[in-house]
Point group: C2
Chain length 217, copies 2
Amino acid sequence: MMKQERAARTRQLLIRSAAEAFERHGFTRARLADISSSAGVSTGALHFHFPNKDALASTVETTAAEVLRRAAGSAGQPEANALQRLVGASHALADRLHQDVVARAGFRLSCGEGSHHPGLDLRGEWFECIRHLLTEADDDNLLAEGVSRQDAAASIAAATTGFEVLGRTDPAWLSSTSLSRFWRLVLPRLATTEALAALDLPAGESRPTASYGDFGK
Amino acid sequence: MMKQERAARTRQLLIRSAAEAFERHGFTRARLADISSSAGVSTGALHFHFPNKDALASTVETTAAEVLRRAAGSAGQPEANALQRLVGASHALADRLHQDVVARAGFRLSCGEGSHHPGLDLRGEWFECIRHLLTEADDDNLLAEGVSRQDAAASIAAATTGFEVLGRTDPAWLSSTSLSRFWRLVLPRLATTEALAALDLPAGESRPTASYGDFGK
């Protein structure tokens, strides 16, 4: 491996190790010595890449931001309508939070008791994405009569925040199955009959026209 | 004031002061010296009531549990139907979290990185309350055709968790107005037409039959 490649790889290992430590112990109690040893490098190597714990946290946050923006942006074909892209983006975000400890730790740091990266507000970006797509859906007459898009935006923001927070202690809340429960409840109210019929929903999110029976929590 | 009354009053002041410190600095960084001085008592007086910070946190949690159970239980007349009581309980909980720092701190401690009161699970109790009321609503044929009560329970659990968490940094999320946005979106999907018409909703939660117009976030 080239020296440069090796340095990049060490950096990635440290970011991941830091994310794991922040998730397990919280930022305050996470120890640099544990982060470097879990990454299999010396504390000297850690300090070569990151001057302190704040710098590590800031990098975890920006890495998470890139991952989440990419996921939300790539969800759904660009030609898909705004509701389709909103559902797709919510699933893509939940999937990244479910699978990727760096996304999870970065989102939590950014939304917690003070981000370590001034100017970064991952939750705010997601809410802006919800509002933007609902405005587009409204302009394209995809929202059912009598639905306020502000009500919809607040509800979707609150519910997706809930799935994220509950997923910290029970990852099942971030599964596609859990999120589908929300969309199955809300979409028939939110979308016009035509827009609902045209939606291409993930498996398990088939159009809600009949009772789903009991499939436990 | 009798000696006993004075002791009870000091205890209440300490619980409130601890709740404020936990909300401001988190449990780990909150300092006993600050808690006693904000309550206007000596550290000796604090230690007379509470041997350590864990004992204070545990008492904040049980106090919050009492407040929240009372609020949820008293919401809606006992003769009201299950959907009515569910909406009422969610508003009562949000109101307590909005107004009462002890309820807020206790809920957060109980749902956070490890409760200081083993066996207490405030979020779990609330979810059980949601499930119970939805089962009753289902048994009483209040839920619309095609609605799964598991989908409803997961969605209401996620959204109310979201309002609670978002309310920590922006109290407006815990206002009656914010929560009404969610119910206005969800109730017409959740309830039968008859059940919806019979609901006695809080002001601002008037039955959604027409567009609500723009009233901002």
